[in-house]
Symmetry: D3
Subunit: 244 residues, 6 copies
């Protein structure tokens, strides 16, 4: 099977890292192709920047998803998840959602440990969006920017370990979800110092999409994810034409 992995930002090195992370745990027979965002920011750290990522996701899905069996939104905010599901001919999984769902099978409660404090309200909304408040022990932030995870991996591990240990000791976290698409490559190093499972959403998304594929499950078209009606989308460069 073939999976499309969508990096929400324009940083190509992150796309490569995400692709590598996805392949580490993919099974034989699963091919993964990463796509760097064509427009938007070099890293996504607020709602405004998410919107550009979404445009990029939609454009790539529109143009290329027919050749794939599943789509991974590799941004921990799951931006545009429901819009992408409407548009995509194949299942779409966000990495936040994937890590939360998968974590529920090994932990009664998990914590999200993520980047700079400003993303905390977004992460709170996200957990609530997915209806998983009861399983979330806490959301902890670090002083790390998204690009710090890429550029200063050792410091990033140190900060992540510190926040993760606090989540376990003080919040009752039984698993740690890595709250950024760029943290996957650090999972082993963090796990060495943290006494609970450390879970990367990219891997979880791969595993869930493999599972859906094996079982033949497709996105429901009944209510939330009906396909868009055919409509003119005037003046949208690269996204123009009819909407569906």
């Amino acid at each position: 099977m073939r999976l499309m992995l969508l990096n929400p930002n324009t940083t190509e090195a992150m796309t490569a890292d995400m692709e590598r992370q996805a392949n580490r745990y993919a099974r034989a027979g699963t091919e993964i192709e990463g796509f760097t965002a064509k427009f938007g920011a070099e890293s996504v750290e607020c709602a405004y920047e998410e919107e550009f990522a979404i445009m990029s996701f939609l454009q790539t899905i529109r143009e290329r998803a027919d050749a794939f069996d599943g789509v991974i939104l590799s941004c921990f905010g799951d931006p545009g998840l429901y819009a992408c599901r409407e548009l995509s001919p194949v299942p779409v999984v966000g990495i936040a959602e994937a890590s939360m769902l998968m974590a529920c099978t090994v932990a009664h409660k998990w914590s999200i440990v993520t980047v700079i404090p400003r993303v905390k309200p977004m992460a709170e909304h996200l957990v609530r969006f997915h209806g998983l408040e009861q399983r979330c022990a806490s959301i902890r932030t670090t002083p790390l920017s998204v690009l710090d995870c890429e550029r200063e991996p050792e410091r990033a591990v140190r900060e992540m370990v510190k926040a993760s240990q606090a989540a376990v000791a003080e919040d009752g976290a039984e698993a740690i979800l890595l709250g950024c698409g760029g943290m996957g490559p650090l999972d082993d190093e963090i796990a060495k110092a943290v006494d609970v499972p450390v879970i990367d959403g990219i891997v979880c998304a791969v595993k869930l999409l493999e599972g859906l594929h094996d079982y033949g499950l497709k996105t429901s078209r009944h209510a939330a994810f009906m396909r868009p009606e055919p409509k003119d989308l005037a003046g949208v460069p690269g996204l123009g034409g009819v909407s569906a």
Copy 2:
């Protein structure tokens, strides 16, 4: 004071209607200017189409909001509300949010009566996003498309009355929120046949923004609505340059 009213779709007649509706109840001294979406769909009825509206909102806010005292997102889904708040130098109010908050002062529980059934899950998410589940008696849909409200006002009134009466009689609705930016002009006709307040979000947004202006309240910049960091937004036509 000056208010920017953002129509999420490309249908200019709707912009004119929305502007007229806003002006009907604006007080002397409040000037309202409507903006038609520069790209996207002629009407917004799914999450995919919302994304184009958001791009349009962001572009207009970026280019023009400095000259205004407040922004109205005239789409009942409040699409991109938090992204717009991050970006905008002045307060931003969505019409769904506005009608829900205002309704709470005259009704213990209210119902949303809206367009075609496919928007129901979006409306449910919306109520939950704003944390107002306890005040929402029900969400009822009609067979009306967004454009039907514009093009077939008499039929639209009939369908709205029917669904509103059912909400009052069966769901305990004490007020009816008009669940589409294009329904405002129908409020009086619907109100004639429904025994509870019928509330249009555009008017409520105008009133709330007037109130915020009088009191001098601005969008908080502490957590959820911090301004975006300055970053390159590569390749976004009409939205390029730095992100903030």
Copy 3:
């Protein structure tokens, strides 16, 4: 338009202060008349004392509300709000409710900062009563009594600033709601030292009632706020006669 402002306690100086605060932000054309409680306590700080305030509210509404366009319950507990709505011929807004609703347009989460610790359970109930738990970051108390706000404004500002800063730094508050009807006059001083909007419920109530008036919205009479049936109210001094 004319607004009736009901002070829940018997302290006339507070009525004057509340009236002044309401007028500071009222628009031209809005007249506000304050009413001191005819019986009850000099300050309201527990459920027992609230009950006397309610009696006073009801008596004044019954005798005088016909000459007004709206009623402000100027007590942060919103005591007797639903009873007053049943009775009153014109819209009634409580100052707690007003500040919570208005705050939702500029802050994702807000905190209530209020008087002595014993009112905390009441404030928790209040937030829950209005169904706004999701938007409330925290409720913080101070060592201030209600009358301290009046009598020792400098100390009151100091205590309020300290608790407000803690709410912002530790609880994620994006706006501060002044949790007592007597704190309004302190809003500017507190706002100078706190980096988020500081919101007084009296002003918000004025703004909401002006908005309702402009739009012509009245209290729904369908379910929660039906008018009382005509009944003998035996032996109630000043409130006797038929109940509606």
Copy 4:
């Protein structure tokens, strides 16, 4: 032990009936004295009328509770419960609360079957006030006024049976709570036709107060139910003097 039973209305025949109902299931050694409201309405069916009942409750508690071991608020709305707890030297139990708590030991979910539709929002608030939403299957109303229960017992039984059977068949009710203080005497007749426990709050309140007495439990004075501070309560006839 001695229990004070407070009828919220001025109808003496109802006081007598409530006293009789309480005595039917009281154990030997429990003496119950009923008190008719000194002012207010002949029946309590809205928030406005509840306020007079509360005044009456407070006056009687203030003057007489010292001679008792517990207080029963015999009104299904539990009006003024927290104010009464603050004031009373002995435990206070509302009959709604009592029936809900007791029902939880024999039924996973229970329904409230009560009088005229206008009380439904009050009952919803009540369940939520006590934090028992998860255990409430439904609230069903009947065409019965409070006084109908007294004056037309046969019709009242018929209506109650009809609504109760619907609650069991359609809502999953496993027990029926009689939603009015005047329905107690009808419990056996209703129970004959309904296949689940039929529970009267007056009896439950007696049983809970007997239990508290045996165990020596008193109202906590730590947070919600601290005693009122001594204050002048100016001008309150029959309730004047200091507040505590």
Copy 5:
């Protein structure tokens, strides 16, 4: 009336203590017989060990409950409560449930203070199972094992007092629920040092069952607690034969 008290563990000394505690507050005419678990662990401190307690409960209920008027599950986890209710011909009350319900009449919020930290997630589930999250201020653990309560009562009191005081001071607890069936005998000593009611579930269960008995209320058989169908229960030693 006769009550069956089921100790979940095999420690006979605890059965004797529990029986004594139940008798301390039972009224004349209530006979209580304790039963030690026939199999399982000497103390129950995890979900695995609870399962054996449940088997023991079911066996004893099956063989002996016909001779009793009520059953007390004397384990703070209320293990197997719904299975026991299905099977038992007479009402069944768990001591956690009993203390939570009874506490609601004297405290707006209560805290559970219990044994070693590993039981905390179980207690959280328990509160949620009963739908009482809104009334629970906190769950605090101590370093005490279940058997420590029995074997080192003085140390147990010290630890309980420390955690209880913290719950009152920091969490807003207005009553303390003793979170282990073996803590009942310590209630007076703990209460001396804690300024809110200290509540033991065994006593509460006795009081609730006495109340149900007086009122003649039985377990509802409509939905959750229907009796098991007659079925072969192959190979269950001591529990074999038909299931009902």
Copy 6:
């Protein structure tokens, strides 16, 4: 990898069917071995019967799980899930949990369609236990017993289709979860007549366990699922010895 599939009942034909269903969608390299309950009922339809299934689960896990990489509790009630997790050296997934989590990736809301009405309260508790109330559109029952699914597959399909169609049309279900371990083999037939994904928990459990295995995730031992302490488990036939 090797998976242990635990049938909760003593009906061997169901074990064979479950094993076959699991193998249909397992990937090459996944071996699945089914285990029939050694004691208990021929079908599990109430909380009482679940308890025997749990004993059987625990015994089999204790004796055999070392030779496996994962455990499937093939009973839609997920009975004893947390006890099994504590005991098992390898991950344990219940089929209800598995289907709910997996469904969240293809449907915003799903419904459970299950056997006889008496299991409805159990299913409600189950959804709440897993904290997934927000994603559950409804729980619908049929007149089918567990064994009917096995013995009368055509009738079972008819009843399931009818209830599933109602869930889609009336409750907003976007996917149907088969609410019984014996319904898996019917999935294709039901899916033919229902316009949304039809999801069997056994398959989902296989897929989730394969995913956990690929990623190397193990049950967290930090809080909820700590291993039991070594203790004597007196007198438990086949489960005796130390508890861990």
